[in-house]
Symmetry: C2
Subunit: 387 residues, 2 copies
């Protein structure tokens, strides 16, 4: 057999943090205590009510395939959630249950993106975004963003960067790695701009729910002609269950359904039944309590990073990340992260994982660890900086 690997894999961005993760595991195996601030997974366990719903289902029923689009009753629950949370009407038929947000990206780009077409996205952004585009032979057009636009794209940036090869725009709010939220006005303008350009608007809303002191707007508040990617992983703490969803414009229902049938058959059934309990009042109450804890952690980490001399150009308002400028200490944040892990046992993610835009002087800190653990991390970080 030829050892030739498909071309598309050459364009795949690596995860530099994997090298750090492997080393962290090694160190832990040797008995070292490591504080993990690199992990994009909530440390909270799945809420009891969701776990119970899953157990009950598995005990009572047979775990067979569902409809490719997902359980109708779950799609209806999500539709109600849009009504309650954003005051928008979304026909359940436009909602597809997917194996995580990953599955939602596979579908959304699969039905829209032709080879060689471009998707505009912010730099810094989540590395998988580019890789989904690469998968389908497309091109990512990275647009450097900064504090001036809260690290988000704007209608002007979209217009300036749009070419005849552009097919769509991806906005992630709250953003990974910056935690910043796009303003209501800018989101509305951006969607209008993309619609005028006859492009596709992809709104990554997987960190919705985890927004502090304000409310994030869904792209669906402005238009039905958008693709919205969401997930039960973050706000609902359901990472390992692998379940998310995609909202599509009406005329994309048919191709999305055909694609889902073929590449998934359906999403794990016991996860779908578990997710049915996610929207109950009791559960939302629990999740709001957790959100308050995330907010306290954000404040703790934000204040301490500033105190130690990191620059944080925009105070993050959502997700569980702080993207900190470490120019005061290094112009090689990857090496800095390696040394910090090696010497002090604190794992963080190098900016390099999120693009080329000043990434050598940025680090992403995740506050998916308790304040107690982060207190240890900050002490160690302080020691590291004072050497």
């Amino acid at each position: 057999m030829k050892t030739e690997i498909a071309q598309r894999m050459k364009g795949f961005s690596p995860f530099y943090v994997m090298e750090l993760l492997q080393r962290a595991k090694q160190l832990q195996a040797e008995g070292r205590d490591i504080v993990h601030m690199e992990v994009g997974e909530p440390d909270f366990s799945t809420p009891e009510i969701i776990v119970e719903a899953s157990l009950k289902y598995i005990q009572m029923a047979e775990v067979k395939y569902t409809e490719a689009a997902g359980l109708p009753v779950l799609r209806t629950e999500i539709s109600k959630y849009y009504k309650n949370t954003y005051a928008v009407d979304v026909d359940p038929k436009r909602i597809f249950i997917t194996p995580g947000a990953s599955g939602a990206f596979l579908l959304a780009l699969g039905v829209t993106l032709n080879p060689a077409e471009e998707i505009l996205m912010a730099d810094p952004c989540y590395p998988c975004n580019n890789n989904f585009v690469q998968l389908y032979g497309g091109k990512s057009k990275f647009i450097g963003v900064n504090a001036n636009s809260d690290y988000q794209l704007t209608a002007d940036l979209i217009k300036q960067n749009w070419t005849k090869n552009s097919r769509g725009v991806l906005v992630a709010s709250p953003s990974n790695p910056t935690g910043t939220v796009i303003s209501e006005v800018e989101l509305g303008n951006s969607i209008q701009q993309v619609n005028e350009l006859a492009g596709c608007f992809f709104s990554d809303e997987i960190y919705h729910g985890l927004v502090y002191g304000k409310k994030a707007n869904s792209a669906l508040e402005f238009s039905d002609e958008v693709f919205v990617i969401n997930s039960f992983s973050k706000y609902f703490s359901m990472t390992g269950w692998r379940i998310g969803w995609l909202v599509v414009p009406e005329y994309f229902i048919d191709p999305v359904e055909r694609l889902a049938q073929n590449i998934f058959i359906s999403t794990a059934t016991h996860s779908q039944y578990a997710a049915l309990a996610a929207f109950t009042d009791k559960n939302i109450l629990e999740l709001e309590h957790r959100k308050q804890q995330f907010e306290k952690r954000r404040d703790f980490l934000y204040e301490n990073l500033l105190r130690l001399g990191f620059e944080i150009a925009v105070k993050p308002e959502g997700a569980f990340y702080i993207y900190a400028n470490c120019a005061k200490f290094t112009d090689d944040s990857f090496q800095f992260a390696k040394d910090l892990l090696e010497q002090q046992g604190v794992a963080v993610t190098p900016g390099k994982d999120f693009g080329d835009n000043l990434s050598n002087i940025h680090l992403r800190f995740a506050y998916t660890a308790s304040i107690a653990k982060m207190t240890v991390a900050i002490e160690r970080l302080e020691r590291f900086l004072c050497q």
Copy 2:
């Protein structure tokens, strides 16, 4: 937004059976009794021991992400399974846990197939095969097969049909829809032929385990330079759990891992822990008992279809399908299937779903229903034919 749908979706083969399924549901809603012989899903529920393992895991632990390649302990179990079942050594590092066989196909073709390259496959075959190829901009080269080669490709057919654009060959044994098994000699020759042509050999082994009166050979018995797709859905009765696996040649480990990280993150964790119980002696005993029941159903259906005048060119030796020639009754098997459903409440799959090779005079009967139910179906079928 432009309503343009990505080009790749145009090449997607439809599932004609969906039309029948929808109508069957309608009729059921109206109170009609329908015997389902169109369903590619075992009617057996997931074995108790697997269900128990999942419940125990969900109660005891947190359902978090696993490694992208899957739980190391599960990969080791699968490696042992290859040793015990086929007497082959497979390094667990070459085994990737995936969201069903669907996920395995996504990975295997994703790391090998470039746009415009061809994959050779038999006609008739499972419709999703072509659609995975379309997804990546490739081309399916359908090779008409018949009873002469047990509806399987042969080394000669591969050689005759190979062109400079060919990238690989897909063999499914037991085959869906024909249930036929490729012979040991022909499988070995085909793999050797593809290796000489420097192509990729993809072996769909998802119906392994469900082979009657003989043993199917794994492609891994002949070469390490093959991609093997397998699943917990069929033999292990775990459809709704969405879990399968992919074995890859050693030098494809790195790209497959990168692709899995990006497009799945990981496979549902509670399904992976459930699958750990799949290989226990107690469970295999239960599954072998079920296999005997499938064999009895195969015999029942085979004899009755012959008695009614259907032709079955090769007695199927595996899976749970019979691909029957209905030329004696019709040259439009799709219309035949619609009429049979409408008039007698028996649902079967039209040949049209599996290709163009005499598909207008073929029907696929699935024996995923009990003999009691199939007895009713045969009576109704007889009535239908005697009108």
